[in-house]
């Protein structure tokens, strides 16, 4: 019980802030709780499936296969797969990172991981349709075309900035998370 309380202490602190908000500005506090409620429902509908998929991927896909598809020598294939994986994804931004962790444990290249995160955040297909209906097709297409080289550039620079020991630490870290 104490362990559980300790693990959720940050969440409880933030809930406390919300309760204070509820007392100071009831309208805002109530709205915040309602937002949390609807976001939680969305999470509950997506997150279990995403984590079960990750578990299945982890047990069924062999490391050699993942290295061939997204590893150091995967070249264009790895980039395209990372892009497609990110673009067809559903779910909020923070769900990408556990997925990225599993992919890294299986041997995916860090460059491809950042491409995946970039695609997830900016070129998600369901969002593109929504964007086109609100902002127009021209806006959506122009942004999409500009974002592709930018996603690659961000991945390139990020990988260069963590070259060497830091990258080893990152991979050791996701490995530790998976086995903790």
């Amino acid at each position: 019980m104490m362990g559980l309380l300790k693990r959720y202490r940050y969440m409880l602190a933030i809930v406390g802030v919300n309760i204070i908000l509820l007392m100071v500005r009831p309208e805002l506090g109530l709205k915040a709780f309602k937002m949390t409620e609807s976001n939680s429902i969305e999470i509950l509908m997506n997150i279990p499936a995403i984590f079960i998929l990750l578990g299945l991927l982890d047990t069924w896909i062999r490391k050699e296969t993942m290295i061939r598809i997204m590893g150091e020598k995967s070249g264009i294939l790895g980039i395209v797969v990372a892009f497609l994986l990110g673009s067809v994804a559903a779910g909020p931004m923070y769900a990408t990172f556990p997925i990225a962790g599993t992919l890294m444990n299986k041997g995916a290249k860090f460059f491809n991981i950042i491409v995946f995160v970039g695609a997830w955040s900016t070129t998600k297909l369901p969002m593109l349709f929504f964007e086109a209906s609100a902002m127009g097709w021209r806006f959506m297409l122009a942004r999409f075309v500009i974002d592709i080289p930018i996603i690659l550039l961000i991945a390139f620079i990020t990988e260069k900035m963590v070259m060497g020991s830091e990258k080893e630490l990152i991979y050791a870290n996701v490995n530790e998370i998976a086995n903790s």
């Binding site: 693990r7 919300n18 709780f33 997150i47 079960i52 955040s121 122009a142 961000i154």
Partner: protein
């Protein structure tokens, strides 16, 4: 919604196939799924509650006021800050951006807002740093912020 259904149907289907082929492996997969979810759940839930408070305070009306009123660099900076700290779903961002444009807000500021709200995640930073460690997470977010301005400038040139 369609994607939620698709995702769950796909997962269910793969789970059944996995179960039929190897019961032991499937149990292992589910155990791994629970372990990684349990690992990150406290952080996820914290972010969701924090997000609720942020979205309540930074309602579309408040954001319109903040971004729409200031022009020039101040307006763009405000747009970048709001876009970076909030994790607003696209369902809210795009109609808001469209409405702001119609009411005469600066195009550059709006694109910076849209771009940063998608790519830069201050609220989600703890999750990102948990997996990528601090250096990579800081580099990625900083670059995303810088390139949001680049996107805005290029888009402005193309679409005008």
């Amino acid at each position: 919604m369609l994607f939620t259904i698709g995702l769950n149907v796909l997962t269910g289907l793969l789970l059944v196939i996995s179960l039929l082929r190897d019961r032991r492996k499937t149990v292992m997969a589910l155990k791994k799924a629970w372990k990684s979810l349990d690992n990150i759940l406290p952080l996820f839930l914290s972010i969701i509650v924090l997000l609720g408070i942020m979205l309540a305070i930074l309602s579309p009306q408040v954001i319109s006021k903040l971004i729409g009123q200031e022009s020039g660099w101040l307006g763009i900076t405000i747009a970048a800050v709001i876009g970076s700290v909030t994790l607003i779903p696209g369902v809210v961002t795009f109609p808001l951006a469209a409405a702001l444009l119609k009411s005469g807000a600066s195009f550059t500021a709006i694109v910076v807002f849209v771009s940063t709200s998608m790519m830069v995640g201050v609220v989600t930073y703890p999750v990102e740093a948990r997996y990528f460690r601090h250096r990579a997470a800081i580099v990625r977010n900083t670059l995303a912020l810088l390139f949001s301005f680049v996107v805005a400038i290029i888009l402005g040139r193309i679409l005008k």
